[in-house]
């Protein structure tokens, strides 16, 4: 195989021109009541993935829309070959509406509603039959050489410690710059964990509108704590962050912002929204690992870089996450979960740039099919950022 000048990888081209690095058939439960049937289909049919959640009904307004956008984005993600949308029938987030939106990508989409088939067993059988056909079709698709500009890489830090801002996050920053320079997209998220560092990012905004939006989303997030009358530190930094040496949210934020590298901030997008520009993009998400990862994947990220100081198993059902340790101790103690070690920067045996180069090489390998630890351990986490009450 001709490969590569580090500008290309082998991906799956979708009918709408986007490129996947995986070829999953997604069983997409649009309502909590359908999640168990969806899980059973994945147990019956090799090559399918799904996720468990608590959503899809009795949501209204912007919260309804955000959940809708998340479901549609998961189905539309380029890593998905085709989708079986599994509904119940009576829920607010109607399976047919979601399938209709995903079908605009041109990929195969089918709908099964449990009430239409007289219950779980028949609906499971029907979903599984459709999935078998889809998986076989997916297996016929060949990878083709694709350009790095096709990639949207999500960046995330979870289980941070004092080393996060010194080793793994600056190394991810090097990679983020490289991706932007190659015409790709790098998503910065975790609005909560940018409180206290917003002025540094606003300075890099491409225009005043983006700079203004930076302050708006930061203040909206901070005001949630203020309006509730709580000290944000009761949730963030977490007890593990504190044991790792982080004393305040501001300190954590300054370390987290290092993931953003040095390139201009092109735009600020809503949760689970697809970027409209290339380069560095900020998605408004909470700091919660699973909710932010879900938002970035629903926004089209084919891959995520996840730095960790305390160690974390998290992953997405459809987008590989490359786990990067901030210190050598956690790399060794949680090696089942962690792919790369940036602790060498702390140890003094590698520079930030050298680790950035290793992360970049790993991205190419993972794009070409190398499985991450989170994928091998079936870490299929999913969580939607709820912004409203349930009725």
């Amino acid at each position: 195989m001709a490969q590569t000048d580090k500008r290309t990888f082998w991906g799956y081209r979708r009918p709408n021109g986007t490129v996947g690095i995986r070829n999953h058939v997604l069983i997409l439960p649009t309502i909590v009541c359908a999640t168990q049937a969806a899980r059973q289909i994945t147990e019956l049919v090799h090559g399918t993935v799904s996720f468990i959640h608590q959503h899809g009904c009795a949501q209204v307004g912007v919260d309804f829309e955000q959940t809708m956008r998340t479901y549609i984005g998961m189905g539309a993600n380029p890593n998905v070959y085709g989708v079986v949308v599994l509904g119940l029938g009576c829920e607010t987030h109607q399976a047919k509406m979601i399938a209709h939106e995903i079908a605009k990508t041109g990929k195969p989409v089918e709908v099964v509603a449990i009430q239409d088939y007289g219950g779980t067993l028949m609906a499971t059988a029907q979903g599984a039959k459709i999935a078998v056909k889809m998986v076989q079709e997916a297996s016929m698709q060949r990878r083709e050489l694709c350009d790095f500009s096709e990639l949207i890489v999500g960046t995330e830090c979870g289980g941070s410690d004092a080393c996060s801002g010194l080793s793994a996050n600056p190394a991810v920053g090097v990679v983020s710059d490289r991706i932007a320079d190659l015409g790709g997209t790098s998503i910065l998220a975790e609005t909560t964990e940018l409180i206290g560092a917003e002025h540094l990012l606003a300075e890099r905004a491409v225009d005043d509108k983006v700079a203004k939006r930076v302050y708006e989303v930061i203040h909206a997030m901070e005001n949630r704590a203020i309006q509730m009358g709580v000290d944000i530190r009761t949730g963030n930094p977490s007890p593990g962050n504190i044991r790792g040496g982080l004393s305040s949210l501001e300190e954590k934020s300054l370390g987290a912002a290092a993931k953003a590298g040095t390139r201009p901030l092109q735009e600020l997008i809503d949760y689970a929204q697809k970027p409209t520009r290339k380069g560095l993009v900020w998605m408004d998400t909470p700091g919660h690992d699973i909710e932010q990862l879900t938002g970035m994947v629903a926004g089209g990220s084919q891959l995520a870089l996840f730095t960790t100081g305390r160690g974390t198993p998290t992953g997405s059902p459809i987008a590989p996450t490359i786990k990067i340790a901030t210190n050598s101790t956690v790399f060794e103690s949680m090696n089942d979960n962690i792919d790369l070690n940036a602790g060498t920067i702390i140890d003094g045996t590698e520079t930030i740039e050298q680790v950035g180069e290793r992360i970049f090489d790993e991205i190419i390998e993972v794009c070409n099919g190398k499985l991450t630890k989170a994928e091998i351990l079936k870490q299929h986490d999913f969580g939607i950022w709820r912004i409203g009450p349930t009725f």
Partner: protein, 103 residues
């Protein structure tokens, strides 16, 4: 120089704290290098890996700088060489307990 060099990082010249990248015992004298100068600090507390200590005296209510930026304020006077953490540093952002509904 026979003196042992400890693994410590001070991010910016005007920072008021440095981070220990190895566990350090109370009483140890350490050299903290930054872009402009080298500070000699005798540790008053033992400092765990990844934790911070003051490299200059910090007054009660004063902003504490790391990365050249504010990471919170001192809740009491902090002497050079003291452990700086949640017992003497408070974040200033998202403080609904102070200015929010119940504050």
């Amino acid at each position: 120089m026979a003196e042992k060099q400890h693994k410590i990082v001070m991010m910016k010249p005007h920072d008021k704290v440095a981070v220990a990248l190895e566990p350090l015992s109370a009483g140890t004298t350490v050299n903290v290098r930054n872009a402009e100068t080298t500070l000699t600090v005798q540790l008053k507390d033992s400092i765990e890996f990844g934790h911070k200590f003051a490299v200059v005296p910090i007054a009660e209510g004063e902003d504490i700088l790391k990365y050249g930026e504010v990471i919170g304020m001192a809740t009491r006077a902090i002497e050079v060489g003291e452990h700086v953490h949640i017992h003497n540093l408070e974040g200033k952002r998202g403080r609904g307990d102070k200015i929010g509904a119940n504050g």
